[in-house]
């Protein structure tokens, strides 16, 4: 299985390459990708340097252009595909059907990967994308259980990449409009969820409050650690009880599932986090490289080194990890 690591900057890219990534993924400095953060991502020059560095060390580079262009943005998104092709990326990661068709017709030699934002949760959906846009690989949404992943993998017409570690979306990606309901930006339209520009922190007599476009997302008492106010991870009131009504602030960690993922023929595991620092990327990439190397050593007695899990837990939201929907009981 391939290790696919995030690169939000040139230093992060080099760190991922140096610490054992088989491929890195990056995006341009605009809303054409799903991690639009201030100070993050690549202009053409930096992307060129990154691609050169990665290729020299035998690492592939994927370019995420995985938001949905509206009429106003169509030329910008099309041009992002052209730029990625001209820079020599190994694949473009796309979600929008119109853009997939454009890339397939205009740059057939550049592999197309279906982004998780393309919301393909069944092999019939994958056949649609394969038949129409000849995608080579698809990234599966994080809503599927391991049994459901097995069902998809058995009949999949394309390579599959699954999320292994990082922040956890519990809504089907590509079809979650919660963020644009509270703010004016969503992953689909602007590549942003719960955008930083709408976040406000405030110390009050009741505790530290986090707000998104003035909506109270959470309030932390003394000794509670505060997290970024991603709106689905707040504490809300449902019929008089206040709790994490949608999702707890935890991170995904699928180390335990690696042997099963390998048996299912999954081609790649993906690390989330282009917004993360190079130091974070180094620790995560190194840990997963060790795990995958041990898995590939193939003695059949793979077990998770406790050091890997403690390293990863230390890097996780709230210090907690879960195997997420892969574990059906979790629902």
């Amino acid at each position: 299985m391939e290790l696919v690591c995030p690169a939000g900057s040139l230093p992060a890219l080099k760190t991922a390459v140096d610490n054992g990534a088989d491929a890195v993924y990056l995006g341009f400095k605009d809303s054409t990708n799903a991690r639009q953060f201030a100070g993050l991502n690549f202009n053409d020059k930096r992307a060129g340097e990154g691609i050169e560095y990665a290729h020299r060390k035998g690492t592939r580079v994927f370019c995420a252009i995985n938001t949905y262009p509206q009429p106003d943005g169509w030329e910008t998104w099309k041009s992002a595909v052209d730029r990625a092709a001209a820079l020599g990326v190994d694949a473009v990661i796309l979600a929008d059907m119109g853009l997939l068709e454009y890339a397939a017709n205009r740059h057939p030699q550049v592999h197309r990967h279906l982004s998780v934002q393309g919301s393909a949760t069944s092999y019939e959906a994958l056949r649609f994308y394969k038949d129409n846009f000849d995608i080579r690989r698809a990234v599966l949404p994080r809503v599927l259980s391991i049994d459901q992943v097995r069902g998809v993998a058995e009949h999949s017409p394309v390579e599959l990449e699954v999320f292994a570690f990082g922040s956890l979306c519990i809504m089907a990606e590509g079809r979650c409009y919660l963020s644009s309901y509270l703010t004016d930006e969503s992953p689909n339209t602007r590549g942003a969820c719960s955008p930083a520009k709408a976040v406000r922190w405030q110390e009050t007599p009741d505790g530290l409050e986090s707000r998104l476009n003035d909506v109270l997302i959470d309030r932390y008492g003394k000794g509670e650690s505060a997290g970024y106010p991603t709106l689905c991870k707040g504490r809300f009131d449902v019929e008089g009880s206040v709790y994490h009504a949608i999702e707890e602030p935890v991170s995904l960690n699928t180390l335990d599932l690696l042997p099963e993922l390998k048996r299912l023929g999954i081609s790649a595991v993906k690390i989330e986090g282009r917004q993360r620092s190079p130091a974070y990327i180094a620790d995560v990439a190194r840990t997963w490289r060790q795990a995958l190397d041990k898995l590939d050593a193939g003695s059949g007695d793979f077990h998770v080194d406790p050091v890997w899990n403690s390293t990863l837990a230390g890097l996780s939201e709230g210090g907690l990890t879960t195997i997420g929907a892969y574990h059906r009981k979790w629902k």
Partner: protein, 297 residues
């Protein structure tokens, strides 16, 4: 004149409630009715045969009937249910994910797309038109300006693809494999005791300052405010919207339909529809604002 449609029932209602609802709907001035379970595969009060029975009654009353497919397809059982819908020839299909697109195109069935299908540009519309797309719904997070441009681009190419706008009801905003209603009751999803039946208009989720944010509806999350574009109907007609979608609620729907019908005919003063399920109004998405905003224009 613009058409009125009744979207699929997004909530979980008992079989009798559903039959009673559509018996009344057969008499309402709506042109199109979408039928079927689009949210959760565990909601099996009605079988496909039941939906087809309702479809027959509505068709005999002169309605166009469309069969809606499940939004989040996860299992082989979900695919089997989808294949059954895509193996009938009598009714148009509303494809709500790419699995449905694949099965519809493979069977050469004409189809329309629901608001959860990500159609953000005319390139997408054009390619789906080649495959049998007969009409489409604007994703709920998009607004007037985008729609105006899309319709303009289609017109410029001489392509006639009727556009539908979700115009009244709680907005479907997200789908998950996880069930938030079961979570509220500390029940596992696989043994949820069908608690959604107790909440025919969802579970209100409020901020700790009592602001209505969302409505939890099993595996789906809806807006906490009710989208209401009744006052925007004349503008919609002008930019070329062909159908206005009203999302079923279990109380007062006849009155809502009646007022939208009057408004499209230009007969009534634009008074607000009755709101028998209490909730604040919103219309932000239409104006390119946060969806929860209510603009007074």
């Amino acid at each position: 004149m613009m058409k009125l449609s009744l979207g699929p029932i997004l909530w979980f209602w008992s079989k009798q409630t559903v039959f009673d609802f559509y018996a009344k709907a057969a008499e309402w001035p709506v042109d199109t009715v979408y039928l079927g379970e689009t949210v959760c595969s565990r909601r099996r009060e009605l079988k496909l045969a039941d939906w087809l029975e309702i479809a027959g009654v509505l068709k005999d009353s002169g309605k166009q009937v469309v069969l809606s497919t499940q939004t989040l397809i996860e299992s082989e059982a979900d695919l089997r249910a989808l294949r059954r819908i895509c193996s009938q020839q009598e009714y148009l299909i509303e494809a709500n994910d790419q699995s449905a697109l694949q099965l519809a195109t493979q069977n050469n069935l004409p189809f329309v797309t629901g608001p959860s299908m990500n159609i953000y540009n005319s390139a997408t519309l054009k390619l789906l038109a080649k495959q049998g797309l007969k009409g489409w719904s604007l994703p709920v997070e998009l607004g007037r300006e985008t729609l105006r441009q899309l319709i303009g681009e289609l017109d410029a190419e001489g392509l006639n693809l009727p556009a539908e706008v979700f115009a009244w009801g709680f907005l479907p905003l997200a789908w998950s494999s996880r069930c938030f209603t079961a979570r509220h009751y500390n029940l596992p999803k696989d043994n949820c005791e069908f608690r959604c039946l107790q909440h025919p208009d969802g579970l209100e989720l409020r901020s700790r300052e009592s602001r209505e944010l969302f409505r939890l509806n099993g595996t789906s999350t809806l807006s906490g405010a009710r989208y209401d574009l009744m006052r925007q109907m004349p503008d919609m007609a002008q930019i070329g919207v062909s159908t206005v979608r009203l999302s079923p609620e279990h109380k007062g729907m006849d009155e809502v339909v009646r007022r939208f019908d009057q408004t499209r005919r230009g007969e009534a003063p634009a008074t607000d529809p009755l709101q028998l399920v209490e909730a604040p109004p919103c219309n932000g998405y239409w104006f390119g604002n946060p969806g929860m905003d209510q603009l007074h224009i």
